[in-house]
Symmetry: D3
């Protein structure tokens, strides 16, 4: 077998699409504005394995807050290799009694419990609740766009990882959506059926005005 001949083939075969490896992946280049499908891609010639590895989820989140929860995100903005690949991951540290408040996002989410015991649940569009206690090694799926939550009901801190099928999921927390902005109290009352006293109390806590 002739090395030379193969090298020629190899040269010819690869040269013609040498640049196409750009489509293998698309590490986000933040020097350009994002578009509907994500960020433009960095030149792959300058990439190394370091671009595809992220260590941020190895550090416990700070749970010294009122909810007793620390959330750390590996999404396109923190881990740009995810751009265009339709996946992200987050780390949940939940103190004893801590809570990931009720929220939703466009895409679906899989949770895996690594330590501790939590109650996790979601609510479907017919208002039916699907809620269950999860222990170490259990996984649960939260279907796209439905409200869901997690509560540490064990006696030890809980650790879980969640995976979502978007590199850039949005997260909408119901309570801060209602009470931490300038949406007028009277409007909130009408669209939520909550009492004015309750609304004003939570606005005060969460920084809402009007």
């Amino acid at each position: 077998m002739s090395i030379l001949k193969f090298a020629i083939f190899y040269f010819l075969f690869h040269l013609s699409y040498a640049q196409t490896n750009i489509v293998d992946f698309c590490v986000a280049d933040f020097n350009y504005p994002v578009g509907p499908a994500g960020f433009p891609c960095k030149n792959p010639a300058n990439l190394t394995a370091d671009d595809f590895v992220y260590s941020g989820l190895g550090v416990a989140g700070n749970t010294s807050n009122i909810l007793g929860v620390g959330v750390t995100f590996a999404i396109d903005l923190t881990f740009p290799a995810l751009n265009g690949l339709g996946l992200s991951m987050s780390r949940l540290d939940i103190a004893v009694g801590g809570v990931v408040p009720i929220h939703s996002h466009r895409v679906s989410e899989l949770i895996i419990v690594i330590e501790g015991t939590i109650i996790a649940g979601f609510i479907d569009s017919n208002d039916k609740v699907y809620s269950k206690t999860l222990n170490k090694g259990d996984i649960m799926i939260f279907p796209q766009s439905l409200l869901h939550f997690q509560v540490n009901v064990g006696n030890t801190p809980a650790l879980a990882f969640v995976s979502l099928n978007s590199a850039s999921p949005n997260f909408q927390i119901t309570t801060t959506s209602l009470f931490s902005n300038d949406l007028p109290t009277e409007i909130i009352r009408k669209i939520s059926l909550l009492d004015v006293t309750q609304i004003k109390k939570l606005k005060k806590i969460l920084g809402g005005t009007n």
Copy 2:
């Protein structure tokens, strides 16, 4: 020009793919279970123009209820020609002071106001409110999955149509999601920061238990 010869061509040309018109559209056949992409299709040979027209949105919805709103849906289940085509439409009748309560769905929504004056708004995932008074002829876009609402703030009944880019959108109403099921009061308190008194009051109104 020979009619005969063309007819032969026509026969040949069309025969070979005669059955492919099945892909032009896919009117839902409810005799089969739905799948992730929608319902199986009815045989197109039996379809007429009537299958592609729906008159249900021509009738005003009943607004004699506590929210003063009537919503009528043209979705795959009521208008099966929409199946697989990624569009649906709904009619909103809102009495004076009436409300479409805060809710969300997977897909985006365009509203057009036909009669009356409403305040419409949505909240983004950073808790910023985008809210505006809409009059006859105004349209507003509510981006996919974000919480939004409409309130009739005029002196006359309001009429609007909304279009969503799914034949089978889900609608999740925040308030009934929280208070009209068996989600325990203590869990609701933790995941929403609402007071127990408030939760119990709304559970009573909306039929919630626990």
Copy 3:
């Protein structure tokens, strides 16, 4: 409940993905070229509710033309908040006897008749016609890519709105496609089976050459 503690949580929780709200929507920034998925996004920090509302469909289109029709478009180019969200809307004003000529587009279309009486129809790829008279409140679906048309057959002007599941639909009008450009008469004759006299007559009206 400590405001301070919650504020700390809130800060931590939101800071980490503060910029991700960019994915909630993607208002088109026309300073950059469009791509296959749409335009790059404006910085959301500068957006207000006004960016998400469009009033152009509130004005009747001019029907003083040979077809008796005025079409007004709310698409990405006129209403940039639609960019990336897969929806657009257009207003049809059709004078008595007026016509939306036969045309097609990549995506599906839902029409709702607000005033008047029209005949609307589409033709499937087996040449079968689905045509029906629509009155106020009726909706009809025109499946993606199929030829369709609307004619005002009532005694009063007609008003309708159409919704399409693309922010940037293309519209191809069959008659102007054939007769308002430099496609040679002999080619048109061969590919359409129309007579040379007819072709030349319409080219003259529609500005075609060759």
Copy 4:
């Protein structure tokens, strides 16, 4: 290296997802109705290489018709292995002076000329014509949903293959759409601007009524 040990691994590793190879491909099972994403899949256990090979395009189409064209389709209905894979292919035999009439379809098309000389072209939604003479080895792209055509302008029969990115493309031929059904002459006149005489003449040739 122990064969036995590897065999155990192999058994364990493969057993757990043995049935998942069903997702490698989805050969259409015509015993079930089609859905928006295609036909249900045959059991892969019964498939052989023969299911993935089709010889129908090896035979020249009959061009003894008024258009001088024979079109042979390898689509899901004739070659069920294409189901769900988003590709199809067709063979065009075009006699001297023969024509593939102006038509459109939802998806894009690539043509490659194997023998002969044709003029091929498409028209964009601004009515601009892109037309060129193609010789052996030339390829041309016809973007999704735009009207296009091919004419043999050489002195020998032409042979070409077209590839479309759908296993089940629809084909809408403009001329038969207008003249080979029961669409009333007066409607056609209004929506196409064609003369009544022309319409009646082509209806007669193509079997149209009304």
Copy 5:
């Protein structure tokens, strides 16, 4: 606030789309054949939280095999709630010195290391290697369809979870693809450049014939 009146609203508002909650999720019903988009859905009325939770990943895989690896899959076939939601998860137990052999799949994969130290890597289509040592808490992305592998290079067993953005990923292991079937030795030699001796040796180990 009248409970009765709200109940009426609630009834009206929900009744009209009661069945639409079927689109919230689509738990696979294995009584029907799979299609290109997944399995048909079970009736949601019969579902409970148990359908959305899977405990199979809580058990360590058996690593007593030649590769020293145990892989446990949570995919649509084992965890049917994933059907149609575009996510799956797998558990990797890798003994000291153990290996997940080089393989590929259609979709992208995120790995998170829970215990131990591994070398993970992928190769792009320009033959460039991206390989790195991963420790507890590190994540790495393997872009869709590219060859990749993991090797335990630490002194303790390794545990990792991988998430893929398909409910039904295919896994193609390069070595068994080549040597554990009836692909003739001479063909393998030609398409892989491997020596006949090597091919025959691995065929013997892996059960290949011809």
Copy 6:
């Protein structure tokens, strides 16, 4: 029929969406970086039919190399009109005894044999081989991401064209992926089960190090 009046209509109707024809197609502009959905689009005003035609596949590839194969690509980088349209085509020239080595790519591929006799095959994720001899006019489908190959087993050079449903497919050749880079021999041994001697021999031929 008044030319003037029609012209006015035409002006009004077209002006309002004049720029939308940009979405008909998106010829790649290489002055901007690529993104996950492809390159930004050239201004369509400057395009001509030449942009949509490519003649590079009309020239036979050079088969004077060790594999006896010449591959010529019409992909976005060589034929920028394909950008965003989800199709590409390549030409395979295979000398007597020549080989397209085993490889894979994200998308599906249809091959059509124009001259000669080849054996083509693919392997599914259960290691089952689907292999068959193809003659002139035969087509075969290689489903997305699965390993496949072609070998000229006839007595004459073979010519084939392949169509893939991506404008920018990646191609991963198994043998060069393993042996033409710096992946350490010991790692290759572990992840492939190949012998060190074999690995070193092919590294030498293919330029691999370590």
